[in-house]
Symmetry: C2
Subunit: 248 residues, 2 copies
Amino acid sequence: MGLVFHERVGLDGRRISPFSWRVRYALAHKGIDPEVVLTRFADVGRIRALSGQDLTPIIQDDGHVVHDSWAIACHVEDRYPNAPSLFGGAAGRGTARLVNIWSDATLMPPLRRFLGADFLWCLDPGDRAYFRRSRETQFGATLEATAADSKRWLAAFTEASAPLERTLTEQPFLAGSAPAYVDYVVFSVFQHARIGSPNDVLPDATGRAALRGWRARMVALYDGLGDRFGSYPTVRSGPDGRDAGTLG
Amino acid sequence: MGLVFHERVGLDGRRISPFSWRVRYALAHKGIDPEVVLTRFADVGRIRALSGQDLTPIIQDDGHVVHDSWAIACHVEDRYPNAPSLFGGAAGRGTARLVNIWSDATLMPPLRRFLGADFLWCLDPGDRAYFRRSRETQFGATLEATAADSKRWLAAFTEASAPLERTLTEQPFLAGSAPAYVDYVVFSVFQHARIGSPNDVLPDATGRAALRGWRARMVALYDGLGDRFGSYPTVRSGPDGRDAGTLG
């Protein structure tokens, strides 16, 4: 049996999870074509039975069940050493871990708040109530109240991205002349933003021209992988998850 | 002729520049024992004549004059490919550049303000007036007024260092299991702090135990290189640079 990839899915096949996106790009980098099991938030029972925890992505590979995107990247790097390297060696791996931690700690929090309620519309309608409740608990405010400060979150995101912009004025990818896992990690955040909101996180006014160029190169990799599964929905339809149990 | 290293020097032979420290560690990593030319701020005329710009570090190597610590690291990596690698390959180099830019943009500004006037006392007395003027212009305030907010600068520095702390709970060095240039870049900031202030930037209350352990390992590398040239002076003596031309 080939590698099985349990990947988070949203409305009409959209891929909505930054953590799944980094694994998807990592598998493409390695030339691995996985068997995909699409996973909604509502499928948590199956995920828990499989892995002993609630989150995707997960891979099953030759008897191993691996969860957590970093652990998955390390697994495929070590298990497929003859395929193109995700890290370019030990120092590249160590440093990629630092960038991974930095990216999740610094870029993700303002981005999640910037997306606010927009993100609900690319989820399966049946997952929206859960997602709303989960995020509103995390933010301590309704998604709508959080998004009302969207200029503030965009400013924070823009400030956090300054080292990326400066680096990409010097080299085409974060890993240098060719993309590697560090690019996939950071791109997954921007991809999450592309699919999760009708509003660009890199508008002209932010002065992020190098990042925009890099994002376009990343979308185009692997036969346009970044555009393969649908973009932000043009029509918002169905329930918005605002039922009993939310703060709204 | 061997490699010549023009290295910033302070009071009684102290090495005071973070940018010179990262080059010193990089040369030690490569097993290069340079001919050192100690350089005060007052020596700017010689530096300008040599390199066409005002800043140290600079190296002269086999007819090349290279300034800027990143350019120097790349030069020695490419010029001495058989010595231990500073980057561990192309992806490691690209990613190290991102961490270099992040570190200088994120850690250095609050640290410089935290050091405030303390830093003057490890400079050659003849360099203090220049240094005070330069920093006070940069800060838009006297060094003493800046340092009055030291709790604020320490809090900002501690927050910026969070991804480092988290990474170092997982691995002994930023580059993984062994130190590489990315460690030298970030360590140079902490070394600048060690030598430039009597106050620790990693006190217990900041919850930075992994960073403290890493800092100690970094100081101990290459026969205790981090402690070779003197620590913060125990006696503050001589002029403090508060002459005509300062904001004070």
